[in-house]
């Protein structure tokens, strides 16, 4: 199948190096300490952060740092065909783990000993790149909850189809079976916290594809910073003197 037309356009009309439209909103869930809604094109996820709060299970309590827990879930209606089991399957467990590890790398857990932070991410609409969208949403929610972090962790995916590197794959491109790379970085510190690849790529192409994904992450980080800055300003203005 042709994923990039001779004119250099992808199936949804984007250029190979073009990202889908992103949109973020803070405070989507009232009861949570921090929450966010993040959209990448048609992919839509919400994240809710609770904590730092008292550890539920005392045997898991850590005396030198906070316990970070993460739960990833896909809504039954998020995909075209209805899922049979919404939770507890291997895919969600793996993604929960991936998100948790990425977030743990940026949260300053040693500042909140003997407490726990719960992150719940829920996919409302899936159109490829859900794990990237989830990481971005979770970062926003953590920042909204006022949890100290080293840097903002952002994530983006890139693939290689029809011998062209493509940024931010959608569902059709994702299910084409080509190699795809999901990268998570700490943008200011220039550190990679997540790198996953399905399929194989020669060394040289891998580097270009990864560089493309990193650039995508940076663009997302720039947008997230703007959203957070605007939100902080709003809160401060409204609070008064």
């Amino acid at each position: 199948m042709e994923y990039v037309s001779p004119e250099g356009l992808r199936l949804d009309g984007r250029r190979p190096m073009e990202m889908r439209q992103i949109r973020a909103e803070l405070g989507a869930i009232a009861k949570a300490d921090g929450s966010a809604l993040f959209e990448m094109g048609n992919t839509k996820v919400t994240a809710a952060v609770y904590g730092p709060r008292e550890v539920e299970n005392k045997s898991q309590q850590l005396n030198d740092r906070a316990l970070v827990r993460c739960e990833y879930g896909m809504a039954n209606f998020s995909t075209g065909d209805r899922m049979r089991k919404p939770k507890g399957d291997r895919r969600s467990t793996e993604i929960s783990l991936v998100i948790r590890q990425t977030l743990e790398a940026c949260i300053m857990t040693h500042l909140m000993p003997r407490s726990q932070i719960d992150v719940f991410v829920q996919v409302l609409q899936a159109d490829g790149g859900t794990r990237s969208a989830c990481i971005n949403a979770a970062t926003l929610a953590l920042a909204d909850a006022g949890i100290p972090m080293r840097d903002l962790a952002t994530s983006c995916s890139a693939g290689y189809l029809n011998s062209t590197p493509l940024l931010d794959l959608n569902y059709v491109e994702d299910s084409a079976g080509g190699p795809d790379v999901t990268v998570g970085i700490l943008s200011k510190m220039d550190k990679v916290t997540l790198l996953q690849m399905d399929g194989k790529l020669p060394m040289e192409t891998f580097e270009t594809v990864m560089q493309l994904a990193v650039d995508g992450c940076k663009a997302i980080a720039k947008y997230i910073r703007e959203v957070l800055q605007e939100n902080t300003k709003q809160l401060e203005y409204r609070r008064g003197l």
Binding site: P52, A66, D151, R225, Q229, T232, Q234, L235, R238
Partner: protein, 335 residues
């Protein structure tokens, strides 16, 4: 936008425009008086310190390659050489002497555990609170067994932060008659940055017969006014033994007389709801809670004949925002 974080109001087109202009005016007014909002930072922003020597890094900052970097979203504050980031939306950070409102979640040996919107549960020791009889003495095993007669699970109580213990747990104390169980009222939980530390956190609103407690941890209590009982009166103590004997068996089944005592008249109930709704509207607009603002909002709702339930509607929401603009601009003029 997070305008409707707690309140779900649907605004009409004109109301939206009015709210928008009100908020823009608030922005202008605030930025004119203080540059604090311009000093806002997000995570991983570098805080400029002009290469000063011996800058002290406070909360919400860390050092990366010689630069001071924010680890939180908030506003940069400078006190002499100290640089720190003041967060807005975050959990409560206790300081010794804070007055807080909390909810009992567990009765443990010699202590109660309280949820106070902190990263851990707070501990109120039996020994760090005054007994009902007002006598200072060692707490006996009998006292320990009677702990549930003082506070039970899910009771809302008011106390003071005593400080952190060596093991990092937070201890509270309630060594005065003004602290203790709160009954006949509503507990509201708001973001803790909206309650500022002040001299007075207990307020008796005489016009309404209401007690208002603005807990530093963002828990706000609105309840019927209770006179502080003076248990030190001597004849009261003489009566105590027999009183205890009679009242103990029917703690659960209240006698008619006691029901009379716990009855709250409908007007007071309405006042409680009115004040609580005023606080709800103010917090969802993100305005700092002070008694003056709360009372002004309540007065406004009465003057404009808003019913209690209409206070959480769209029209009142917009009017409160407009009123706030008015209030702030007049307070600036006075200066």
């Amino acid at each position: 936008m997070r305008d409707m974080r707690e309140l779900q109001v649907s605004l009409s087109q004109t109301q939206k425009v009015r709210l928008q202009t009100a908020i823009e005016q608030l922005e202008k007014l605030t930025s004119r008086v203080s540059s604090s909002a311009n000093a806002s930072v997000t995570v991983a922003d570098t805080i400029p310190v002009n290469h000063e020597e011996g800058v002290l890094k406070g909360h919400g900052t860390s050092e990366v390659d010689g630069d001071i970097v924010a680890t939180l979203c908030g506003v940069v504050e400078r006190v002499n050489k100290l640089v720190y980031v003041r967060t807005l939306r975050a959990r409560y950070k206790p300081e010794t002497g804070d007055i807080i409102v909390g909810r009992v979640i567990e009765v443990a040996p010699k202590r109660w555990r309280l949820e106070i919107n902190f990263s851990q549960d707070a501990v109120l020791m039996l020994s760090s609170m005054n007994l009902h009889d007002g006598i200072q003495r060692r707490r006996t095993a009998t006292d320990e067994l009677n702990m549930r007669s003082i506070f039970e699970e899910n009771d809302v109580i008011c106390a003071e932060v005593r400080g952190f213990q060596h093991d990092g747990t937070l201890h509270l104390q309630a060594r005065s008659q003004k602290y203790g169980k709160l009954e006949r009222g509503q507990l509201l939980s708001v973001s803790s940055y909206l309650v500022k530390r002040r001299k007075q956190h207990f307020h008796h609103l005489q016009d309404y017969g209401i007690d208002l407690i603005l807990g530093c941890n963002g828990f706000v209590w609105v309840g019927e006014h209770v006179e502080v009982r003076d248990d030190m009166i001597t004849d009261d103590q003489e009566n105590k033994p027999e009183l205890q004997q009679t009242s103990k068996p029917n703690i659960k089944s209240l006698s008619l007389e006691e029901q009379e005592q716990t009855y709250t008249p409908p007007e007071t109930r309405q006042n409680i709801c009115r004040i609580a709704n005023a606080i709800r509207v103010l917090t969802s607009l993100g305005i700092t809670l002070t008694v003056d603002v709360i009372i002004a909002t309540v007065e406004m709702s009465k003057a404009l004949y808003f019913d209690v339930h209409e206070m959480v509607g769209a029209e009142f929401y917009v009017q409160v925002a407009e009123k706030e603009v008015e209030r702030r601009s007049s307070s600036i003029k006075k200066k």
